[in-house]
Symmetry: C2
């Protein structure tokens, strides 16, 4: 096996993991490199951020997921440079890893459109650490309001502003409104959490712009039903401590969350290939780097328009399909077979709005409300999980989800009490 | 109810929570202040530190635990000063809280015997954050060894040194040896985790010095059976990055953990009463501060020898008994009844060593091995939990515990890769 071709995969998101699984049974050696020790089930990150599930519910060590494949090695490390001519990846720890085939699946992070200084005031949601930080801020806002009410006799405002009306923004806003109404309401004495205001700001003319118009309208109705203020055509012009600026308007905000933009991993530029304006690498039809048929770029880091003219979106199903395609093409290349171009099969779009509502699009079929939510649940359980025991994971999730498992509402890390100004 | 006596409880550990529960049904107002939003089931902290259970499994928001009592308020804050003459507690946020009765149950933290500089090199285990940090270091040590083995062709050493042979040290050492043998062994390719060395250092002549001698010997045998090197009569004289000094001897250490000493919360000194050498407040027989019958000090912060000459140890059952005693005496005082002195009922001592071993002492009854472990499990389930649904919690624990739930093995926070020295 030592002379088998060596496939190096950078990133263990959906794309990287499915690529590894696709060729793991073949005669190859595989090394998966990730800077975290765990894979995160990203579609459920917003539920950790809103204290409905715990980190352990949606993350699994990469070693556990790939443990059954004896030819797969996992390294906790980070790619920093590529020597494409000599087929080597330099890692952060200083070592170089030689490859025969390389798959770069390093994903994306939030973009603040040139206002990176907003990032600490309005965190985005991409990693488990992000989710725990958002959870901390949301829960602390309730605690701080309770403290002001009980000790200072105030009637504190409690405003949550979510910037960006895409699926993540919609899910965050709906979920915060729901915990305020249904969970927090029971826990507090000095404040009335049901009076918390949740605002969803969208710069464009409708939320969920990638969805058909009727579903955007339906999502907006369902959000309003949960008490969310949906404001469209409102571009954020500034983020400051405790406030969000929208043109001339100053909006008070206890917690500001960012779901307005995504940019690809800097590894795209480090590869030296042409990228689009979001930093995604413009790949060949078989997902390879121009001039380098041994280097594949997949997932959120790849910009590809397939022959039907469809641009693959930055969602888990697209990354999974690309991972499988790259894996298969590598095996075809090793065997000397002809490669096949990647074709994106659009399985539809799904977003949830709280616990039993949502919107779903499957081609011409548009669903809303509980039915969309049930579809969402089914799809997540049967099509996305894959690498853990589905039934067991489902039972765990269902348990945590329907009982509002209280262990999810932990504030860990800094408690950040506003200290007395001077104690002279 | 607004004119009912106001009982302020500082700290929501076992002592504070049981005090609150004891008088919560009476005609009083209660305010519980804690600097965390959650209560931690401390006896199982070592299982989070060794990646067997997740934080959410052993912690619960204080608001959820006390939610059913309408006369209990919970504040996320921290006591910083006491104005005993005017019956006021100053909080970190600057507000003062007036009380009729005060219970100080602020617990204890690690002590490094004048070597506080060791704390970052050898963390101790008192909070959920401590446990997550220890878990991070333990898991990262395996990752780093794997990286060196795969990329640099080394045969890296993997040494875990636990300082202190009390129950926490014994449980940590046994549990690390167990995960190395049974869990990690399946996950790694480049290293053989079963060859990891776990050392337990005890300065005294035997481990578990508070237990009868036969149980100390049994614990040592059981630890050796798991592969732990138990070294007694070895006082640590220095802790440095990657090593522990024991007299003239230099012991290599990938991860050093501190379980050698405890000191009471600084609130003991801030109260201005006499304290013992561990900073514990010397209280009256009814657990009150000398000269202040309205101020109770309980749990790990209290030094009390009851009339039978028994000193209450710093364990959960003692804190629970003291919380109940303080609660009852407050109600007696309100009614004008005579107070009763606190009497410690020793329910025995229990420590586990890995998954199905341990030692237990119930008066003359000394148990070892599986039987001790089953006792431990029973006691923890039926006597200590109390505030959550026992059956459900048990099912969750059992599930996580017996399946070695992989979600517990997450490295969160900094990944701390050793960066390349210079990139010229």
């Amino acid at each position: 096996m030592a002379d088998a071709p060596h496939v190096v995969i950078i990133g263990a998101g959906f794309g990287g993991l499915y690529a590894a699984r696709t060729i793991a049974r073949k005669r190859v050696r595989i090394t998966v490199v990730d800077r975290k020790n765990h894979h995160v089930f990203q579609p459920l990150l917003y539920q950790v951020a809103t204290a409905k599930l715990s980190p352990a519910d949606i993350a699994s060590p990469i070693r556990s997921i790939l443990g059954k494949y004896r030819n797969v090695h996992v390294l906790l490390d980070e790619a920093t440079h590529f020597d494409l001519a000599n087929r080597k990846v330099t890692l952060k720890t200083g070592e170089a890893l030689a490859y025969d085939y390389l798959i770069v699946a390093a994903g994306a992070s939030h973009a603040y459109f040139g206002h990176e200084e907003w990032s600490s005031l309005a965190p985005g949601l991409k990693s488990l650490e992000d989710a725990v930080e958002i959870r901390r801020r949301v829960l602390l806002a309730f605690e701080e309001a309770e403290r002001e009410a009980l000790l200072e006799g105030k009637r504190p405002m409690l405003n949550f502003v979510v910037v960006g009306g895409g699926p993540t923004g919609v899910e965050l806003a709906g979920s915060i409104a729901e915990i305020a109404q249904k969970v927090m309401a029971k826990d507090f004495r000095g404040i009335d959490p049901t009076r918390a205001r949740v605002v969803l700001l969208e710069a464009g003319q409708r939320i969920l712009p990638a969805y058909p118009e009727d579903l955007s309208r339906s999502a907006e109705r369902q959000l309003r039903h949960l008490g969310v203020d949906v404001l469209v055509g409102r571009a954020v012009t500034g983020v400051q401590p405790g406030k969000v600026l929208v043109g001339e308007e100053v909006m008070a905000s206890s917690v500001t969350l960012w779901a307005a933009g995504v940019k690809a991993s800097p590894l795209g530029n480090i590869l030296g290939a042409p990228t689009d304006r979001n930093g995604r690498v413009k790949v060949e039809p078989d997902l390879t780097l121009p001039g380098h048929p041994e280097v594949f770029v997949i997932g959120d880091l790849a910009a590809i328009t397939d022959k039907s003219g469809k641009q693959a979106p930055g969602v888990a199903p697209a990354a999974i399909q690309q991972g499988k395609s790259a894996g298969k093409n590598i095996w075809r290349a090793i065997k000397g077979d002809a490669r096949q171009p990647f074709e994106y099969l659009d399985k539809g779009n799904l977003a949830t709005i709280g616990r039993a509502a949502g919107v779903a699009e499957f081609g011409r079929l548009h669903l809303s409300g509980v039915i969309a939510w049930i579809f969402w649940l089914t799809v997540h359980i049967f099509f996305l999980i894959g690498f853990r025991n589905r039934v067991l994971v489902f039972i765990q999730w269902a348990w945590a989800y329907f009982t509002f498992e209280s262990g999810a509402r932990l504030i860990t890390g800094k408690t950040d009490l506003p200290e007395e100004e001077a104690r002279g």
